[in-house]
Amino acid sequence: MTQIPENKVSPRDSKLHGKHFDCVIIGAGMAGLASGIRLGLAGKESIILERHNASGGLNSFYSIDGHKYDVGLHALTNYVPKGTKGSPLTKLLRQLRIPYDALELSPQLQSKIHFPSCQLIFNNDFSYFESQVAEQFPNEIDGFCRLVETIKNYDAFSLNAPSTSTREILKQYFKNPLLESMLLCPTMYYGSSTENDMDFSQFVIMFRSLFLEGFARPLNGVRTIIKALQDKYRSLGGTRKMRCGVAKIICDEQRAQKLLLDDGSEITANKIISTAGYTETLRLCNNDKNQELENNIGKLTFTETITLFKEQPKNLGWEDTIIFFNDSDHFRYEAPSSNLVDPQSGVICLPNNYAYPNEENLEYGILRITALAHTHKWFTLDETSYQEAKQHWYTILQKTALSILPSLNESQAEFASRTIAKDMFTPRTVHKFTGHINGAIYGCPNKIKDGRTHLDNLFIAGTDQGFLGIIGAMLSGISMTNLHCLQSKE
């Protein structure tokens, strides 16, 4: 299903044809840009090839009718205040030599885990979340505190740790299944590539990034972060070629020999870092005919509605930044079995609700609603049914969100009259712009933690390698580049 744009340019006309690089990076997402910066800092010649016309990958942006939209990035997780030692964000900025202030991060106001019988509020001060758990689950707070100690001391980045069930481990710390569900809802929604349970090391990474660290956002959203990365990469002499994907990796048994690009030109490289996805990358090598690979294709994907409206959300009484919701006490995280979308759980994001400097804010109120989606059903709709389905599910998700947000005392129709613009993306949209099979957001279920492939000089970084979130994606690009391109000899 890979889309190769028709390109009339003959290989001879391409300035790239015949060029050689120390390293070719496939994909200008967070991982690819971070990888390029590391190579640039080391004085290596690299090129980033991106099929889409905008950088960012799964965390990108677009405009329609003059309105700017973000894809991905509800919140930058792993937020810590400037000067915090030893945190992933601090390490990452140091590795990229990007100043903290360049990301223009503003912290969240407060977020919520919303279940019918219980709500837990949290912000960037972990002790507040702890007090919420103590208040709502007085019998479980000791177990919860023991869990937090375990999480703080856990080596989540070990490259060869065995996979263990989070649900089984949580049961060792507390008995109330509601608390288990309430902790899994946000951690799975913000990073799980597996259904209903997740590997404990992934849970640890998510728990730290959401609760022990926190949420922040630049006023201008993901554009600010991408610009900081692009500017740094460019300043180091790196080349970025947009609208030019890799059509094929030509290889022998052991090594990638050449890359055939969408425009027909051929280039060579000592090493290749691919952020296109694991199976997606092996397909480029025509090496995807085995069952293990088939079983390791990500299935979980989402739809998201985005609504721009006239008021600032706080004027409507909507003061939360992110709300993770579930409509029963038992949280299920799985691809919907019959419907196109499962509105029983999801995430509501109000990007206006960050503490932006100088009382500045976004021009309009923005309401984003994310829910799990059925990949195959979205992919097989014809164009008319697709548009109808988008309209149908937009309405349902909007209704769901309005039932969870503090009551407006107005009908959905009245709220609709406040609306300035709206859009919705589906698994199809994600696939179209990222090339990820199934439009999967969090990649394959079994992560390629060491980044190695069957070829000696081809490596995987990004969501399929195993670090999560935007910060995780950048750390993935950094650590795989360090390990495979900068530490090891040619």
């Binding site: 800092l41 004085g43 140091r94 030599r97 950094i478 360090n482 900068l486 530490q487 090891s488």
Partner: protein, 82 residues
């Protein structure tokens, strides 16, 4: 080049790669990691800058020899003077 000059080169590199660390009162004999928040990724960057700025190669197995300013001076000074 003297050992003191080599130490200053290492300090300059640390200032560049980790501008948030205070390098003004480093003790020469104490491990750098015990005095600052540096990890293995930072040491990779020290090695990277030694290569880029001074053409000095430090193979991976020798990274432990960069533990303190004194050990850096012992290990790097002959390389600078070679």
């Amino acid at each position: 080049m003297t050992e003191e000059q080599v130490k200053q080169i290492v300090i300059d590199i640390i200032n560049e790669i980790a501008p948030d660390e205070d390098t003004s009162n480093l003790k020469s004999e104490v491990n750098l990691r015990d005095q600052m928040d540096l990890d293995s990724m930072d040491f990779l960057d020290i090695v990277m800058e030694l290569r880029k700025q001074h053409g000095i190669e430090v193979p991976e197995e020798d990274y432990p020899k960069l533990a303190s300013l004194d050990s850096c001076a012992d290990y790097l000074t002959p390389k600078f003077n070679a």
